[in-house]
Amino acid sequence: MAKIPVQFRLNGSDRAAFVDAPETLLNTLRRGLGDFAPKYGCGQGTCGVCTVLVDGEPQLACLTLSVACEGREIETASGMADGPDLHPLQAAFMDHFAAQCGFCTPGMLTAARALLAKNPNPSRDEVVEGISGNICRCTGYEPIIAAILAAASAPGARRA
């Protein structure tokens, strides 16, 4: 079957790919464009490790058709750091030991980023709600919640 061209912005750069009709955004990002930050964890919307931002809103790349992303703005954890400067969330995750195996971390960071973009000063409950679609199987959630709360009060946290 013929491949379909798709263009979108990925972490601020114009990118294009030829995709199969039912191809997911996750496959296009990983296999087509080499951005391995979003992971495959379940393919059914329960784990959140493939969370990306589409036009600023969190979405699950494993359930999103690539052809539906034409002209959209996609952001992943790969694009959070500004060159060598970590995003405040990334720095807070490091400081608070908010990763163990690291597999959930890109999705967790992206969910947190979406939360802080809408709600720069979330309560603890709002943080819990904000990452309620992201499963971390090893660290437990406490260091992650602490990191997000710390990032929210850090200078520069409002940076998208």
């Binding site: 930050a37 979003p38 954890a77 790969s78 995750f93 990763a99 195996c101 690291g102 971390t105």
Partner: protein, 583 residues
């Protein structure tokens, strides 16, 4: 939150530890937070193929026929594999350390023994093509009666789950249908105990549910080698297993891994590596084999369920005088690591308590369930749950505080363990003391003064006379409930086996030397206190006034000689499988 209790066992430890309690950044953290950490699946290969397996929909069935013709013709399909395509299509994980018989095919040939067992592998140029072709494979099955309960599986006439072990039990030392432990005379002690309590504990299987599912990518390298990006927790275990199954020298495989997206024991089985390597060899292309979430949850091996019966003889003053354990590991259809779990379980009995009479029979039973495997302390975790619940029940029966009850019965340095080894580095008393302090749990002054370093003397340091039985001898069903046939006199210790590996079962037609533990004649071993002729095999223990009478402590044992090199810390421990190691 971390606290270094330097006051406890201060003389047993070098005091130059300088990392614990400090926040040191991990070296892999920058990769994790920037999304740059590379897991097995985060590698791009040109022309990569995708492998998916067709799984059995039945728990137990004979395969009448397999028709792959339509799947082979499907768009995008490069190769379809059946059992006959796998060079060594029977393996057991621990064959790498010569333990157990090969019992599990990579792809089932004439029968399936659990729902989800792989039968056919499809290699196609996209996941979608492999999934579509999977639906075109036709397999005809004749259903067989199945068995899902460990005790039912061991009954005569139960359906045979695994032809390699026709009795539905793992065979230890080619001699016994279970792991056996005998120390003292439990039957006599039960008869003399004030109370006897028996309870049954049933665990459930638990799926590890790592966020990253099991998988691997194998790709041809230069010089006839293959690079394998693997999720394996035991990378060289997976390498050895893959090399055996695809029948290549291990130096032709270049395994890369160590960055695991959650494992918890569920990534030691090499579930995907052998077929990925075989696929890469047969197609000359990179082949990726990744379980999807549903496969991971249903057919990635879980922690095995265990059924445990604990029977204890208890005196009114709180002393446990006998403990008898009968336990069944549900291995599922194939051995994987359950044989080892039962050894760990036996080595852990009777828990961290000194009990003068201990017996245990731990079985590994095959059922038509998904094979179970390692998971976080497997072999110990479940029996510990059973034992500690039992301890609470015993404390209640003896009308004692559960914490005091544990202090009373805890191991102390110098105690003779049921395995005829002297207890060393014991610390349960100190753990209870610290936990009680943290939890504001009132502990008597006497319990607070107890120490693991003292008290393991006298009767506690002796090996009691021990009746032996022939129970569960393979090939002799009449011995299932055999009475004792011989009494080992007090003080009898086991002769260490020779340094040669114990060969159990046959593997690839190699020789199978049989080594059954032998016992030395009734002579006290040198390290023990002088042998005292026993008045009875079960001398009455000194009267107990709860909490335990605190005896004036003998001078503390001389501190161990200084470690030979400054860089060494901690005590040398012995591991039953891996030998001596430093921890």
């Amino acid at each position: 939150m971390l606290e270094m209790r330097k006051d406890i066992f201060a003389d047993e430890r070098d005091d130059n530890l300088n990392v614990i309690g400090k926040g040191l950044q991990r070296q892999d953290m920058p990769g994790h937070v920037t999304g740059r950490t590379r897991y097995f699946d985060d590698h791009a290969f040109d022309g990569m193929l995708h492998l998916k397996v067709v799984r059995s929909p039945h728990a137990h069935a004979r395969i009448r026929s397999i028709d792959i013709a339509a799947a082979q013709r499907a768009p995008g399909v490069k190769r379809v594999l059946r059992g006959a395509d796998v060079p060594v299509n029977k393996n057991t994980l621990l064959s790498l350390i010569n333990f157990g018989k090969d019992d599990e095919p990579s792809l089932a040939v004439d029968k399936v023994s659990y729902k989800g067992e792989p039968v056919v592998a499809i290699i196609a140029d996209s996941e979608a093509a492999a999934l579509a072709a999977r639906q075109l494979v036709r397999i005809d099955y004749d259903l067989l009666p199945n068995v899902f309960d460990v005790e039912e599986a061991l009954k005569p006439g139960a359906p045979v789950v695994n032809e390699t072990y026709p009795g539905n039990y793992f065979e230890y030392h080619q001699r016994y249908d279970h792991q056996k432990l005998r120390f003292g005379d439990v039957e006599k002690a039960f008869a003399q105990a004030d109370m006897v309590l028996e309870h049954r504990y049933q665990m459930s299987p638990i799926e590890h549910a790592p966020t990253e599912t099991n998988g691997s990518i194998a790709a041809p390298e230069q010089n006839g080698r293959f690079v394998v990006h693997s999720c394996a927790q035991g990378l060289f275990f997976a390498l050895g297993t893959a090399a055996k199954i695809v029948d290549v020298e291990s130096n032709r495989l270049h395994f890369i891994g160590g960055t695991v997206g959650g494992g918890f024991g569920g990534k030691v089985d090499a579930l995907t590596e052998p077929l990925a390597v075989l696929g890469a060899m047969l197609t000359g292309k990179p082949v990726r084999f990744v379980l999807d979430r549903e496969e991971e949850m249903l057919y990635g091996s879980p922690r095995g369920a265990e059924r445990i019966y604990v029977k204890d003889g208890l005196m009114r003053d709180g002393r446990i005088v006998a403990r008898s354990i009968r336990s069944y590991f549900d291995a599922g259809a194939y051995t994987r690591l359950s044989s080892y779990a039962a050894i760990k379980c036996t080595a852990h009995l009777p828990g961290p308590y000194w009990i003068p009479n201990v017996a245990s029979d731990v079985y590994v039973a095959y059922t038509n369930r998904c094979p179970s495997t390692a998971m976080r302390g497997f072999g110990v975790t479940a029996v510990d749950f059973a034992l500690e619940v039992q301890m609470d029940r015993l404390a209640e029966a003896a009308n004692l505080d559960p914490m005091e009850f544990r202090v009373l019965n805890a191991y102390r340095d110098g105690d003779m363990k049921a395995h005829r080894r002297v207890a060393k580095n014991t610390a349960l008393i100190e753990c209870v003391q610290v936990v009680a302090e943290k939890a504001n749990w009132p502990l008597s002054e006497q319990a607070k003064r107890q120490s693991s370093l003292t008290g393991g003397v006298g009767e506690r340091a002796l090996i009691p006379a021990t009746p032996l039985d022939q129970r569960g001898q393979i090939g002799r069903p009449d011995t299932r409930n055999a009475p004792s046939s011989q009494v080992l006199p007090a003080g009898t210790a086991r002769i260490p086996l020779s340094k040669q590996p114990v060969m159990e079962g046959d593997r690839d037609g190699r020789a199978k030397p049989t080594q059954v533990p032998r016992y030395e004649s009734a002579q006290p071993i040198a390290a023990l206190p002088p042998y005292q002729p026993a008045q009875t095999s079960n001398p009455p223990a000194p009267a107990y006034q709860p909490p335990p009478a605190y005896q004036p402590s003998p001078p503390p044992p001389a501190p161990p000689p200084a470690a030979p090199a400054q860089t060494q810390h901690g005590a040398v421990r012995f591991s039953s499988v891996f030998g001596t190691r430093r921890r």
